[in-house]
Each structure stands twice: as structure tokens, then as C-alpha cells.
Symmetry: C2
Subunit: 570 residues, 2 copies
């Protein structure tokens, strides 16, 4: 029997749910309502629109075959009615109606539904910073705001910009402004690292170092107190300094839009997310919800998780579409996955970072590996950096993160692990992970396999490690005299360090260690160093065998500490 479906919100989840449902049930009627005039656009493309990579906002709203996804498009090609510039005020669940109001003329109207879909999305988190209403203070919550930002930027109004928040969107916008518009760009973040909660402090520092090399400044662990200016923003005042600014972009995360759900008496979590089951039904079985306004299950922790991402919204939209048509589709949850391009590098993650894992109560440890993305004899190749987060005892893999210099090789590795995490895989699964192999794409022993092996060795207590961040700390305190760097590389690599730091750096190539054991000091903590951490691990085994046990293998070797920002003079 034909149904009457009403969808509130027409950006990502709504259109997907509506279109999929119509393909399954062409005789039913679908009406989408959105408060905005622009609908069904790729919101994740906003930073690339601001940068100029995407020249026209229409491109974000177009299909891959260059048709604008506007009201006419939905009517003609999908047989769906769209009502724009119209907000949904309230839901009468008894009568099964939604009260809507046209924003332009104020007229109200009732829409009746058989099933209702809430795709109300999210809005920028309100930090209540005094001066937020000054001209030039923006958020990037929708396409119209992005158009306004770009007008300011192209109009030459902006010499200095301050971004509040070093999450994914903040950093993407920072790159846009600094790279393509040459704007002096600073990022203020209240936490002590960029991408907090997503990437480990160690790898986050590597990415920050790269951004700094590309002229983005960071003020971490600082709280913005107020914005100052006459009518337009002039200064950003934090608890530690004052920054000049012609523009401020707020990118401090988002809050779910669930007011209409709360008003209607639907179940909503303490964080404001609409509660749904695996079929994406709310507490009212005639009302579905998905996208940025709901929470789903974190498949690593089993607890609720919140990831406002277009990719999840689209997939959830399809599930809702199927269920509207009487199907039995489920969306079981997510492990949380992430990727970002930052100038010449990219970073990605899936599952929990070490810090998040510990916060969730896991007794966790991480392994860090640096290796070429392709066969080391293949002419075009680059180093890749991966970190695996594992639970002690069980060896369960809780998360993975990576940094790649170029191309999509690193993204491919994270993509290979992300969908596996829900199966509660262990380090052995990563050691034996089967990936297609050919020298232009990977090593016979792929970096992922090496990562599994390293994690296994660390769990077994056979590889005692420190990471770049920790090494930097030890190195700063080297004058205490209790530490020696034992360089396991050949003299060509080790020599310059020994010459510059004779008291703290010693060279014994790994292949000579057995015969030159007498030269190894026994009264100092040894940091074993090579290019990537492989030979230094072999050295550690030899030292252990010989009874010299106070040694630490520098994970990722010189490649890691240089990426981190140390020893750039070599």
C-alpha cells in the first residue's frame, strides 16, 4: 500500500533515505523539508570550496553527472517533493503530523505522515565566547556560511585568520587559508595536541610539525576568553596571549539538532543525541532518525558513539530507506574511522587511539612502525608511519592510525584494518593479514604485517620500546648523564651524530655488535637507534642475550624522530 513519508532535513541522510525508498516503493509519496535554500550538498567539501580547489558552490550540490540537486532535480528524476526555506516546528505523534513554517513568509502548514524520518543534523558547538557576534566571526556549519567566508577571503579582507579548534575541519580550513590564499593562519586548541582523541600525541605532533613547516601556527592548551573589535573582529584573546585576526572561524565540534525530537517526547541521550535501535527506529516505531543527530554503537567499546560524518549518514540513509519499504536492514554501529589530507601528508585512523583506549579502561599498549609503502627496491616509494593499539594479555587490536607522505597507500592500509576491528582481531591476524602484493604497491612483508609482528614482540616483552615523543623528552635531559644513544647503523649514518654529540652518541653497527660487545657501557640506559627501528631491535636481542638488559629500542628510528621535528639539521 502506498505510504506517505515525510523527511525533515535534506542534506545527506534525508535525500539518501528518500531516494532509496522511492526506488523500492515507487508508488509511495516522499516529501522532504529543509530550513535552508541549498540542499543535498557535500558538506565535507566546504574546506575545498574555501580553498578554491572547488571553484563554485554548485559543484558541491551537483551530481557526478553535473546536474544540480535542487527541488526540480528531486521532482523530475526522483519523484520526490522538496520544500525548502521551511523549518519543522513540532511533531504531533498522535495525529502523525508535522507542523512546518516557511521562513520567508512565516506561513505555517501541517504535513501528515505514515512514517517520519529525522535527518536534522548538527550545529556548531556554542562556546559562548564574548564577541562571537562581531563581523568576521564564522562557523562552517552550512554552505551559505562557506560562501560568506569565501567572499571575505577572495575580497582581500583577510590578512590574519584564527581558527578555534584543531579537529579535522579546523585543520582542513587552516590548510585552505594558508596554502591557497597565503593568509597568516593560527589555530587555537584548548587541548594539548591537534586532533585530540583521534590521533596519538606522538603522531599528532608529527602532523603539527608538518603544518608548521607550511606556515600554520599553533597555540595548544589555550582557551579563548573573548573576541575583541569595534564592529569587526580585530583580536582573539586567549588565557595566554592576544592574537590579531581579521577573521575567526569556529571549528570546535558540533552538537546534535534534537530539539524537535525532545519536544515530541522521543528518547534522547544525555548528550542530546536521538536514541535509535539498529533498525534506526527512534522510541516511536513510526519515526526513524539517522546522521549527525543520532548516536550509534561503538563496536570497539560496545558503548554509544557519536560520529557526525557524511559517510555514516549516507549509509544510514539507505538502511532507513529499506526499512521504510518494509525491509529488515540494520546499522550495527561503527568503530570510528577518519582520514585527513594536510598539505603533502595524510593521516588516518580507525578504532581507538592509545589514549582513548586507556580512558575506556583498556590495559593497552601501542606499536609504531616506519617502513616503505612499496617494495624497498621499487624506484618510487615513500616512508609510511603506522601505529597499532592493542590490549595487553588478549592481544586484541583496538585501533590503528597512520601517517603517509604521499598518495593513498596509507589510506589503503587503514582501510584494510578498519572493517576488521569489529571481529575482535588480534595481533596475529595483523601479522598474517592477506593483502594483494606486487612491488609497485607493497612489500612482500607489508608494513601492516610488520606492524602486527612488532606489536606481538612488544606484548611478549621481547621488544622494549620508546617512541619519538618520549625520546625527545629523554634527549632534552641528556645532560643528567644517565643515557647513551647507541647507533646501530653504519658509520656513514651514525658518524655526524657521534661527532656532534660525542658524550651522548656512540656507534656500533648492528653487524659488529657481537664482536665489539666490550665497548658497550653497562652503567647507562641505552637508546638503540637505527633508521626505522628494525636493526635496533636486532641489536636489543643480541644485548639481551649477552646480559645487557637496560636498553630501549627507538620505535620508528631516526625516520620517526625527524618527522617529529628533532635533528632537522642532519
Amino acid at each position: 500500500m502506498p505510504q506517505n513519508i515525510v523527511i525533515i532535513g535534506a542534506v545527506a541522510l534525508g535525500p539518501k533515505a528518500g531516494c532509496h525508498f522511492k526506488r523500492l516503493d515507487p508508488d509511495s509519496r516522499v516529501t522532504m523539508v529543509d530550513r535552508d535554500n541549498l540542499i543535498s550538498y557535500g558538506g565535507c567539501g566546504i574546506p575545498y570550496f574555501i580553498s578554491g580547489d572547488v571553484s563554485d558552490p554548485d559543484q558541491l550540490q551537483a551530481t557526478s553527472f553535473h546536474m544540480l540537486r535542487d527541488e526540480k532535480f528531486f521532482k523530475d528524476t526522483k519523484d520526490i517533493d522538496v520544500i525548502t526555506n521551511t523549518e519543522a516546528l513540532s511533531i504531533d505523534r498522535e495525529k502523525k503530523t508535522v507542523l512546518i513554517r516557511n521562513i520567508l513568509n512565516g506561513k505555517e502548514h501541517e504535513l501528515s505522515y505514515d512514517k517520519l524520518v529525522l535527518g536534522t543534523g548538527s550545529r556548531p558547538r556554542n562556546l559562548s565566547i564574548p564577541g562571537s557576534d562581531l563581523e568576521g566571526v564564522f562557523s562552517v556549519s552550512d554552505l551559505n556560511k562557506a560562501i560568506a567566508i569565501k567572499e571575505e577571503v577572495t575580497g582581500g579582507k583577510v590578512g590574519e585568520a584564527v581558527i578555534i579548534g584543531a579537529g579535522a575541519i579546523g585543520l582542513e580550513i587552516a590548510e585552505s587559508l594558508a596554502d591557497l590564499w597565503g593568509i597568516e593562519t593560527s589555530v587555537v586548541e584548548v587541548m594539548n595536541q591537534i586532533l585530540p582523541g583521534i590521533i596519538s600525541p606522538n603522531m599528532a605532533h608529527m602532523a603539527q610539525h608538518h603544518l608548521e613547516e607550511n606556515d600554520v601556527s599553533f597555540y595548544l592548551g589555550e582557551k579563548v576568553k573573548r573576541f575583541e573589535g569595534e564592529t569587526r573582529i580585530e583580536k582573539v584573546v586567549t588565557d595566554k596571549r592576544t592574537l590579531n585576526a581579521d577573521m575567526v572561524i569556529m571549528a570546535a565540534g558540533v552538537t546534535p539538532n534534537s530539539d524537535i525530537a525532545i519536544k515530541a517526547g522521543l528518547e534522547v541521550s544525555s548528550k542530546g543525541t536521538i536514541v535509535v535501535n539498529e533498525r534506526l527506529e527512534t522510541s516511536d516505531p513510526d519515526i526513524y532518525a539517522g546522521g549527525d543527530c543520532v548516536e550509534i554503537t561503538n563496536l570497539i567499546t560496545g558503548k554509544p558513539g557519536y560520529w557526525p560524518l557524511g559517510s555514516l549518514a549516507n549509509r544510514q540513509g539507505r538502511v532507513i530507506g529499506t526499512n521504510l519499504a518494509g525491509g529488515k536492514a540494520e546499522f550495527e554501529g561503527a568503530v570510528g574511522s577518519f582520514v585527513i589530507k594536510l598539505f603533502e601528508i595524510s593521516m588516518a585512523s580507525a578504532g581507538l587511539s592509545l589514549e582513548s583506549a586507556k580512558k575506556e579502561g583498556f590495559d593497552a599498549v601501542s606499536a609504531f612502525v616506519v617502513q616503505f609503502d612499496r617494495a624497498h627496491f621499487y624506484p618510487e616509494k615513500d616512508l609510511m608511519y603506522l601505529e597499532l593499539v592493542v590490549e595487553k594479555g588478549s592481544g586484541r587490536v583496538l585501533g590503528i592510525q597512520g601517517l603517509g607522505n604521499a598518495g593513498e597507500g596509507m589510506m589503503g592500509r587503514i582501510s584494510a584494518v578498519a572493517p576488521l576491528l569489529k571481529y575482535k582481531i588480534t595481533t596475529e591476524d595483523i601479522s598474517n593479514l592477506e593483502l594483494p602484493y606486487s612491488p609497485p604497491f607493497s612489500s612482500a612483508m607489508d608494513i601492516l604485517n610488520a606492524l602486527g609482528n612488532t606489536a606481538e614482540n612488544i606484548l611478549a616483552g621481547k621488544n622494549r620500546v620508546i617512541e619519538a615523543a618520549e625520546f625527545s623528552d629523554w634527549w632534552e635531559k641528556r645532560h643528567k648523564g644517565d643515557m647513551l644513544c647507541l647507533d646501530c647503523r653504519e658509520w656513514g649514518n651514525a658518524g655526524p651524530f657521534v661527532e656532534k654529540y660525542p658524550e651522548h652518541w656512540k656507534s656500533i653497527p648492528q653487524g659488529e655488535l657481537r664482536t665489539r660487545l666490550a665497548e658497550v657501557p653497562k652503567d647507562k640506559k641505552l637508546v638503540l637507534i637505527c633508521n626505522t627501528g628494525v636493526r635496533s631491535y636486532e641489536a636489543q636481542i643480541t644485548l639481551d642475550q649477552m646480559g645487557i638488559k637496560d636498553s630501549y629500542n627507538l620505535q620508528g628510528g631516526m625516520a620517526a624522530v625527524k618527522k617529529w621535528g628533532l635533528f632537522s639539521e642532519f
Copy 2:
């Protein structure tokens, strides 16, 4: 208690097993024996050495830190003894000794072992073609043979080359010769497609078309009868033609080296592979085997599988190393995965192709999708082609294959599915597959998710499809008059086809179909066409709704048929 380990074969599995074991048990003794003088090299790099991408054979034998993995390297850095130029003649399992003979001086010697490892590898399949002993007829079975081939090529001796076998190595060598040395290169293959058994005929034809555009010629479905020449190869005679040749390279697959195992009474399969359990023990628990000389479990079919790949050999080597040291590691098997670079494209697969699946008794069907590798609004992007093989009824995913124009995006998609196949995932898992998302890397609805959706629609009978290969057949027979191409694109795309083929091509843009339904002929089989198969699917639903059911959606649309080689004039 220290053990005495002997390893026969020192290319991939042997060194990995030996080195890993020594790290776990440094006080034990490891001796590796190899018949060759060159050991521990990356055999998969041979095509890149022949092409000149890798300039020196030493590079294939070097570590990533540029040390040559020769006898001295293994002694100094790994504390492993290597005996080269020495073949293993026989095993005395009672006495636990191996009889070896130095190939250079003929001297024989007995090595005693506590545990023995067989990493004897494989040799080129012998096709017994008359004239195989002519000068200039080569195989690529080891590094010394590769050096000989390259000497001929760089010496200017080769104007025309014929490669026997269109498997991965044959095609990689074909690219090497044609691309970097400008040699007129032909490939003769007894089967009717390139990459038989690995890639579907449809996608294999796309790759062949690309190779042909790069001046490689193919003679498929032809059997080589003999090689002719005085002392050096001059002609290759097949059952259909005679080809001139200054060089022939045999690349018709490999045969496991199991003679020594057979002689020792170990269990060997009818195919000549050494039989091992999941711990990689042979029928004698004191003898392990792995790599190209063993068969493992095909995790899709549950039957034995044979994949002579360096990547599997390395991972198996580690498992053997662990078990030698008293550990309990297992190698459960593989699904079979593959990737190849061919000029500007790459192809990859995991699991079964449609044809292999049918041969294995599965009632299988495939879905084919073409989509951008990145967000369609992102400036740098390219089309990607993926095929998913699924079992009817259960919806179980049996395999996946892909073709990418550039970069590693396609490889990343296949890598995301390969490790999942053993979990018996279904189309729904692919539809909901969680991958990191950001516009420079993917679409919000990634091509993999779209592929899962399409497979689901096909299984549900909602998307009735033909693929490029089938369409090419229909198109050739179009003059029978029972078929009409209904182009669902706008006139700008459809017009040139309608003008050139007015009797066989009609244009009704998908958005106008509802209002122009009267124009659709009801007496012909309709092929619905758009750029990639998305709009034509929408059109099919509309036609179905209106009672016009004899329509077929061209999977992958014009993008697929053009890649296949049709309509290159447009």
C-alpha cells in the same frame, strides 16, 4: 635447549623462518643451504629489474638500508650460516640428516638436524615445446636468468619478443620490454583471455585493450607448437600462425619443487605440492615446509589452494620460525589475492572470480560498478571499476576485483575486502563497510558501498543488467533489429550516438522519462545507458513501474564499454 636447524632454500621463506627463529632462540644454530649463488632476493622485482626501473640486481638482494643479503650479511647480522652453490640431495629422516652436494666441486657432505625446513620453492612449468633449448629462449625463474635476459636486451639483440603465458609475470615482463626497451612484444596465451582464472573475461578485456594501446600484441586461445631457429630462436609457431622472435620468455606458471620430499617419503599431493597442516608441519613433525612448494587452504572454498607468492612465503616463514622455537603459530590459509600494475592502470583481485566461483560449484553472479575514486567535486579524481562476485540466495561475497586508472585507490578498496572474505561476509556488509572518509580520498558513499548496494539490487532482481562484454556481442548483432539503446543522459552526451546510429539509439533523459513514456518502444529489448549505470538503473525502475519490463541496465555505462574498447571514436 639449543637446537640445530637446517633450512633448504634461501630465497624468501627460508631466510624469514631462520631469522625469526634466531630472534626467538639466539643460542640455537641455523644453517641455510641453497643451490644458487644469489640468495634472499626479491624475486617479484625481476620484471622491474628487466625494465630498468631497478638498475642493479644487487638492489633486489639488498635490505632497505642498502646492505647486500649475502652469506656474510647473514653471519654477521643474523648469526646464521649459509651454504650456497649447494644442492640438497636427500633426507634421512631416521638419522635426521640431509645429504648435500657442492655444485661447483661435486663434494658431498651430511648435515644433521633437530628440525628441518623445506623452502624449496618452485620451477617454471615445463611445456615440452620443441626448440626450448634454442638460444634466446628464457624463463624468469631466478635472478641469474633475469640477469641473462637483461644482458640480451641491453645488448640490442632483441627487436621482437614473444612471451608465452598471459599471467601476472608474463604481462609484467611484456610491459618491461615494450615500455622501456621499445621491443615489439607479443603475448601468446592458450586460454581465451589474459589473467585467466584470476580476473573476469570482461575486466581482463579492459586490461588487454589498455595493453594493446601501449603496443603489446595478444594471441589468445593459441597453443605454441614449436620454436624454430638455427642456434638462436627465430620463430614461434602456434597452431594458428608463425611469429618472428629474437627472444622468447616462458611465463606459463610454475611447478612446486618437491622431489626431495617425495624421495624422503613425505606426504605430497597429486599436484606435487608438499602437504602441511596449519602449523606448517609436513607429515613428519620434525620437518616444516612453506612457500612455493606447499599447498594451503583456500579459505573461500575450504579446498587446497596453491599460490606461489613471495608475500605468503614471508608470512609462512615467520609462522615456521615461531613453531621451531616451540611456539604455537598457525597459518590458516588464504583467499588468494593479486595486484598488478600495467602501464597507467592497475588491476587487483581477492577471492574467486565469477568464472572460478562457478567452476567451484557456486551459484554465483557478479555486480559491476564504475565510480570516481574520490568525491566527484574534488578536482583530482579518476574513474574506478569494481566487480563483486556473490552467491545467489545467501548473498555471500566470494570475491572482488578492480581496475584503477591511477594511484593506489583501487588497491586500497581490494585490500579492504580481501581480509574480510574469510568471515563469509554478505553484500550487506559491503553496503555498510566502514572506511575512513574525506573528499580527497573517497566519496561519502564510497564505490565499495555502492558496489554492495548494486549487488544487493541485482540479487533482489531489481537491477537487471548486462556487462560490457555482453553488450559488445548484442551491439554486433544489432542489425537483427530486436534491440534498442535507450540513452538516459542529457542530449549533449546522447546526441552524437543518436545521430550516428538513428535506428539503434534513442535519447530520453532520465528526468524526462515519466513524461515521455509514450516514446518508449514496447516491442524491443531495451539497453538502458548512461555514463556509469546509475541513472539507467533509475530509468529501469521507472519503466518497470510503468509495466515496460524488457530492459537491461548496462553495468558501468559508457565508461565501461569505452574502457572495453567500444566507441573509441566518440
